[in-house]
């Protein structure tokens, strides 16, 4: 495996605020990595440092083994940033030609058009006259112009409709098959889950979880074991004493035991031969758990996730 990106103890301070706090990670060739987190978690700042647009306060960032500002690195990366309005007074075709001239190897206009879904009509338009969706496609085409080995997308699908989104992620998968590495930021768990094979979860400038979408989801999710208590029902206190149970509550005629490990809870229920029936194991809704995590009040949940990691 070839390491493409290395961040080592990277911290970025704005005034006294730590936007990114001691982040260490590596990204390998061919990975599609989602940097996931709420607004203000440090996702964009991290991308900016990877691109050499922001200088880290401490730590090192290398792309292809070199600092990101080097020309030979720039020749191998392509980027879609948030809210970059494109150069004015030029047509889409002229801008694409211009960008192709920057790179030693470049994709043909034809390839760029097919990959991004721009059409002949768009090519003749002035870039500043494009609609929001067309601008995103142009910006995707600019990222691909130099046939880059490494792609950065900062919130790439903001402003895209569902079919453009699908097309976009299909293209990204195609690029991965060609051996490209892709790093993107998002604040939607769903999107990270669908598109990435690895999720790096950011919260308050720190990496709080890093793994496959399934791993991240299991860390995020809160499982619960519920049952209908029988005649000799146990008190809540007794239920809480079951290992791995973090919370007990009753809803309707069912009693819920919240736990990070439902296997242990179920085993205990049988071991103790508790008088219960109709046992159900459920995992809490992921998006709820994620929202909770990313909300300010979710600080204790973060602790839990941290402990779980």
């Amino acid at each position: 495996m070839e390491t493409i990106i290395t961040l080592n103890g990277v911290t970025k301070k704005f005034k006294e605020m730590k936007a990114v706090d001691d982040v260490t990670l590596t990204i390998q060739k061919g990975e599609i990595v989602a940097i996931l987190g709420p607004n203000g978690a440090g996702k964009t700042t991290t991308i900016m440092m990877m691109l050499g647009l922001l200088q880290q306060s401490s730590g090192t960032v290398t792309l292809f083994g070199s600092p990101p500002k080097e020309k030979k690195v720039r020749e191998r990366i392509g980027t879609m940033l948030q809210e970059v309005s494109v150069i004015d007074a030029l047509t889409v075709r002229e801008i694409l030609q211009l960008f192709r001239s920057y790179y030693p190897k470049s994709l043909s206009i034809h390839e760029l058009v097919t990959l991004t879904g721009l059409n002949e009509e768009d090519m003749k338009k002035r870039a500043d006259k494009l609609s929001g969706g067309q601008k995103r496609r142009l910006s995707f085409a600019l990222a691909l112009a130099g046939d880059p080995d490494l792609l950065f997308f900062d919130e790439p699908t903001v402003g895209m409709d569902i079919s453009s989104r699908r097309k976009f992620w299909n293209t990204v998968k195609e690029l991965q098959n060609k051996g490209k590495t892709v790093v993107f930021t998002t604040h939607y768990l769903q999107e990270a889950d669908d598109a990435a094979d690895r999720i790096i979860l950011f919260q308050k400038g720190k990496v709080i979880a890093d793994g496959t979408p399934a791993q991240i989801k299991s860390k995020l999710s809160r499982q619960s074991v519920s049952f209908v208590p029988g005649q000799n029902a146990l008190s809540f206190e007794e239920l809480r004493s079951i290992p791995a149970v973090t919370e007990v509550y009753q809803k309707g005629d069912r009693c819920y035991l919240v736990s990070e490990n439902s296997d242990i809870v179920v085993a205990e229920i049988f071991n103790r031969k508790l008088d219960v029936k109709d046992i159900l194991v459920e995992s809490g809704r992921l998006d709820e758990a994620f929202e909770q995590l990313t909300a300010q009040e979710g600080a204790d949940v973060i602790e839990n996730v941290n402990n779980a990691v």
Partner: protein, 247 residues
């Protein structure tokens, strides 16, 4: 090299497609020229000399405008819209970017000079010797430097609106107080007293003298060079300060 040529071409296309450039740097000077040499009777004795003189005024007005307005506002726009940041991630180096901007700008100046000179020759049949055409054209091209420096100074501003407001005021203010729109003798006395120290007068005066078969005065060169130095130092100083604030 391919990069540099494409970049230059793009810069030129962008200026030519800019309606402000076409209006202020080509249309207005030619319109004024026609008005004040053909339509209104200015009552100036030597018509031929006036036509050549005013042709220089208008060409200076045009190139000064492109230097201050087009360059400055464009720089602010590129930064405000995130475009310059985006360029920094491409392999295009700062130096190629800067060189092509300047080369594009120079090409546009030459283009404006040729068009307005041609307009003068066609509208009034202005006849100058080859040396006079070339020397006055070259003067207008070279002495635009202090105004380009003002352009980069304006280019440091944060908002496009402020930049365009201020550059408009400077541009028109310079043009009027420098005697580009009307001869200096017509201007109020207090302006006449200061005009020789202002950049536009010195810019224009070099060209006015050249078409009379004389050389620009030393003071013209010295004053323009001084303005160039001041604006460049200011521009660099502000840039450094802004970078320090960000970093």
């Amino acid at each position: 090299m391919k990069m540099l040529i494409t970049q230059c071409k793009v810069e030129i296309i962008r200026i030519l497609r800019n309606p402000y450039y076409v209006f202020w740097s080509l249309f207005m000077p030619i319109l004024f020229y026609t008005l004040f040499t053909k339509i209104f009777n200015t009552g100036i004795g030597n018509q031929e000399e006036w036509q050549a003189h005013y042709l220089m005024s208008m060409t200076v007005f045009s190139v000064m405008g492109t230097s201050i307005m087009t360059l400055g506002i464009r720089l602010v726009e590129e930064r405000a819209k995130g475009w310059s940041m985006f360029m920094r991630i491409t392999p295009l180096s700062d130096s190629v970017y800067f060189i092509s901007k300047m080369a594009g700008q120079t090409f546009i100046h030459v283009f404006s000079i040729v068009i307005i000179f041609l307009a003068g020759a066609i509208i009034n049949g202005v006849k100058l010797s080859a040396v006079e055409w070339i020397s006055s054209g070259s003067w207008i091209l070279a002495a635009s430097l202090p105004f380009l420096a003002i352009g980069t100074l304006i280019g440091n501003m944060k908002k496009v609106d402020t930049a365009s407001g201020i550059s408009n005021i400077l541009y028109l203010g310079f043009a009027i107080t420098g005697g580009l729109w009307m001869p200096i003798d017509i201007l109020p006395e207090f302006i006449q007293n200061i005009t020789t120290y202002l950049p536009a007068y010195n810019y224009g005066n070099g060209a006015w003298l050249l078409v009379k078969g004389e050389l620009p005065e030393w003071s013209n060169v010295v004053i323009l060079a001084a303005y160039l130095a001041v604006f460049m130092i200011l521009s660099i100083y502000i840039r450094k300060k802004q970078e320090a604030a960000v970093g």
